[in-house]
């Protein structure tokens, strides 16, 4: 007798989900490539558009903070870049992830595949764009600012990785949550601007009054952005707090996100 599986007793676990994702890595790759192609095909400037948005943002914030509000941060543009780019990665990922499952309802109802692929692909697509912009801007800035290379810069990929884990965790919750509550999209719209101002992007953490500093560091994206600033701007090794908060948030969000996703995964196809 062949080995049988009972559909009623099938239960996804974190490990079976990871195995499923590994088996569907071709799909993951194709979904990311699809989004990249859709974004750039047929546009004359193509990839250059991805550079325009951060440039405009940086121009506006530099005028506002350096020339109008008189920020004392030296090399403000460089400082800003290190926060704006990872911020853009998070905003892009969460916005797209929210729609990732609801926009694929036909697919969800007619083919069986690990649905976590959908939000994860949107995060990876935004990550790919982030990497492309950083590959252009970071060396330019390092040269323009005369920053010497340092061993601490080797830690950059570690924090990038932690930020990806964190973003995947959030994306899983948003994508599945939207299926049950369409308000998630609107809640995100309200939450993101608040999150922006409680993250040290346009101001350095050192300018935050003492008692509030731990709170600002505990806002979800702060540890990653502060780490990038410490590595490249202050040329330091990332501080202990940043390590702890970044690692706990990254692994914690991923774990909680996956558990939430697993808990509701079965009901997604019939709820859509």
């Amino acid at each position: 007798m062949t080995d049988m599986v009972d559909r009623a007793a099938e239960r996804s676990t974190i490990w079976s989900t990871i195995a499923g994702l590994a088996r569907y890595r071709e799909l993951l790759k194709n979904l990311v490539l699809k989004d990249l192609k859709l974004k750039y095909r047929g546009s004359v400037l193509g990839f250059l558009w991805s550079l325009v948005n951060p440039l405009v943002m940086m121009g506006v914030y530099t005028i506002a903070f350096k020339y109008i509000l008189g920020s004392k941060v030296e090399g403000f543009v460089f400082f800003l870049l290190l926060g704006i780019l990872p911020w853009g990665f998070f905003v892009g990922s969460t916005n797209m992830a929210t729609r990732s499952i609801t926009d694929s309802s036909d697919l969800m109802k007619s083919v069986r595949f690990p649905s976590a692929v959908l939000p994860i692909a949107t995060v990876l697509f935004n990550f790919a764009q982030y990497l492309l912009t950083i590959v252009v801007f970071l060396p330019l800035m390092l040269v323009a600012q005369g920053v010497p290379l340092a061993a601490s810069m080797l830690l950059f990929p570690v924090f990038l990785g932690l930020q990806v884990l964190f973003t995947v965790g959030v994306a899983l919750v948003l994508a599945a949550g939207t299926v049950f509550f369409r308000d998630v999209r609107h809640l995100l719209e309200v939450a993101l601007p608040i999150l922006f101002w409680v993250t040290p992007i346009v101001y350095p953490l050192s300018q935050v009054p003492g008692p509030f500093r731990p709170l600002v560091l505990l806002s979800p994206l702060s540890s990653y952005i502060v780490a990038y600033q410490q590595i490249f701007y202050y040329r330091q090794w990332p501080s202990a707090e940043v390590w702890i908060v970044g690692a706990v948030y990254g692994c914690g969000a991923l774990l909680l996100g996956m558990r939430f996703f697993l808990a509701v995964e079965d009901r997604l196809s019939e709820q859509l």
Partner: protein
């Protein structure tokens, strides 16, 4: 026993939510307005179904709309989870679903790109897709259109490429849902030939259709479902007669 698919007391319940509160606003209003309140109605799409299908059988699933045929296919495919009972399928069987053709296509991408996207949705690696790609192109007859964006395809071409992909995935169990409702005579003939070929190669086929002729030409057994329950399981002609009776009964009943 080499049962390809065995259902035992299989049930699937859907909760039909009237006034479903997917928005917080509605939940809030429901606190004050009786009429806005969510009411949940149980709907048993499949109820206590026991049926056993052996490897290599071609079984026709017939029944009126809402009888649970499509739900049963989706349970077998693993798209829905059973509410109770058991549904055994071979662990390593590749289950091909032709529930909707060309689903997941991206209009802006070319035919070729969509083939690679679509096969990866079914879990194929790039190398596996490259191996069957020539066959897909030949089967679809759209050789000259593979580098054209799918948005420029006619609906017939769209279906053709979708079917060509499904037909070349080489599943062990094939689930077909009403695919004859679409397409021209040419396309339908190609479908029939392909399905006959699957049969000859000993694949298990579950075929949902409202068309007696199609069922007769493909299936060697018929299962009639009514309101989620098994009404008949046996010979094709007898099953189709039962189904015809059932349809006639209900069309005479006023108010139904």
């Amino acid at each position: 026993m080499d049962g390809a698919i065995t259902a035992r007391d299989l049930s699937k319940r859907f909760l039909l939510r009237h006034n479903q509160a997917v928005e917080l606003k509605v939940r809030f209003l429901a606190l004050f307005h009786e009429s806005k309140r969510e009411t949940v109605e149980e709907f048993w799409a499949v109820r206590d179904l026991s049926v056993s299908i052996s490897k290599g059988e071609a079984v026709g699933l017939v029944g009126r709309n809402g009888s649970g045929k499509s739900t049963f296919l989706k349970l077998v495919a693993g798209i829905y989870r059973p509410t109770s009972g058991h549904l055994f399928v071979p662990r390593d069987a590749r289950i091909g679903t032709m529930i909707e053709l060309g689903v997941g296509f991206e209009p802006e991408l070319t035919g070729r790109e969509n083939v690679f996207l679509s096969t990866s949705i079914h879990g194929l690696s790039r190398a596996e897709t490259e191996a069957i790609y020539p066959a897909i192109v030949e089967y679809s007859g759209l050789d000259h259109f593979m580098d054209v964006p799918i948005k420029n395809y006619s609906s017939g071409m769209h279906m053709r490429i979708g079917f060509a992909i499904s037909a070349n995935l080489d599943p062990d169990i094939l689930l077909l849902d009403e695919i004859f409702a679409v397409g021209d005579a040419d396309f339908q003939q190609q479908c029939v030939r392909t399905i006959a070929d699957f049969r000859n190669r000993g694949k298990t086929i579950l075929f949902v259709s409202h068309e007696p002729e199609a069922v007769r030409s493909i299936c060697d057994r018929v299962v009639v479902l009514d309101r989620g329950r098994l009404l008949f399981d046996g010979a094709v002609d007898e099953g189709l007669a039962q189904y015809a009776d059932l349809s006639a009964q209900h069309s005479h009943q006023p108010g139904l």
